[in-house]
Point group: D2
Chain length 153, copies 4
């Protein structure tokens, strides 16, 4: 499903976006740790904020306010759960683009507690309209490719 001709972002090391997450009751389970699926909620919030900082509001994009109704879907993920997180932890999600093609974005997302890496994900995002694959808006691709996010870390 990964397109053949992928354009690697030069200097993607500069394009990191970071977003803080606090762990609440709702995120934990009876083992005392964060429930594994909730890491996906955390990194989805970070992607939403990264897009927002680039000027893309997904509620509005989906509603078609900036042209056609469009939304981004997760097509593929590789996840490593390395260490547990716990109630009250303050985590950081770091997101950086790995590859951008006409219709997909591949991101790396890392969740840390201070310097400790708890979780890593490679996430392939595709754009859909009317349930069909769709070219990503050029503006999104260009901004992401530039090493996009305003927060640098």
């Amino acid at each position: 499903m990964v397109p053949k001709f992928l354009r690697t972002i030069a200097g993607s090391g500069n394009g990191r976006h970071t977003f803080p997450i606090r762990v609440y009751f709702e995120d934990t389970d009876f083992t005392g740790l964060v429930y594994h699926a909730n890491f996906l909620r955390f990194i989805e919030r970070a992607r939403t904020e990264m897009l927002r900082e680039l000027g893309f509001h997904q509620g509005a994009i989906h509603a078609g306010e900036s042209g056609d109704a469009l939304f981004f879907v997760v097509a593929r993920m590789q996840l490593e759960f390395l260490k547990p997180a716990r109630m009250d932890d303050l985590l950081t999600v770091e997101t950086r683009p790995l590859k951008i093609t006409a219709a997909t974005i591949e991101l790396e997302q890392i969740v840390r507690r201070a310097t400790e890496i708890l979780f890593t994900a490679k996430v392939l995002i595709a754009a859909l309209a009317d349930g069909k694959p769709r070219r990503l808006p050029r503006e999104i691709r260009e901004k992401l490719a530039l090493g996009a996010a305003p927060h640098k870390s």
Copy 2:
């Protein structure tokens, strides 16, 4: 917000709907107990199943397949959290209509583990279309008023 002239269901004692819920990891929190807000997910599933058994599929109703797009919203709730539930518990949600008006349904919902009552709710449901209050379909009101659900307990 509760309409003035409420029609009490005669024989609502017969119209109980019961629905089983298994407690999974996702439902618990780090205290070892079911996270309180998840009781609302449990009783919402039971309402969805009660409507389904009456012939109303909310996905389809919302999509406007049976006329106009319509959906049910929770307008008000009174909740009592009496005893905790835990991982692996098998619970039962009992739902019965208390009052039905042109635009609202008031339900009582009780969550039990065997005979023990863990949680009770009074739930006021309203129907909306285009964001505005809307008469409930007559068929739903009549079926609920009859002591609706196929499972009797």
Copy 3:
């Protein structure tokens, strides 16, 4: 279940705590609106942050780091769902103590989008240790009674 002799907080109008919530994908449902039970997650985060600002970290309290293992549970709620919230909305949760007794705290919590009130809750919190009701730590009661939170609105 509400204790008989309740002490009303003088000047509770001053003791408001406010906390911002951003609405993400995970919070919405297929009707396009925030799923009703998620308002309970939002206001629970606000309670956790209010306690944290008063110096009480629930993960640590539960682990018994400051004495006995203790945790707070929701005993009762009255909820009004007045207007819907949507993807990307920036909400504010305002929390203020209504009544504090030896073993319970009654709070009012209001969720707003700008000045618009979307949701209100009265929440009765009890303290438990070993599954039994337990006096609240004096320090928590005193700080809450003083009109507690550092953020004033």
Copy 4:
């Protein structure tokens, strides 16, 4: 993190476990589809039920009722989101062991709607006790290796 000497299950094709999932409001998001992270909740429920059918109740295992406190954690996942699921859909999770080692279980989990494949996962599970890797109980390994689940499909 995958142990070097992996024992492939002979005849794992026979050891499929199937579990039904109904899609409710709580599972969907504002795009009208099931929120991607909720597929992880669905397949976790199926793993819990597969273990239950083999005689292992995770609440009890975690509480140390059958010896030492032990729990299973997800260490790694590869996920493919192929087609969307929607409100009211009735899905099936099929789970089968791929490889079993002293301390890990690798599973394949497939979510279908009728015959259509919506989602596939490879899931690496590890056992922990006191936060450290731990040999899986022999009984679990043997039952899984036999082509474990009572439901055959």
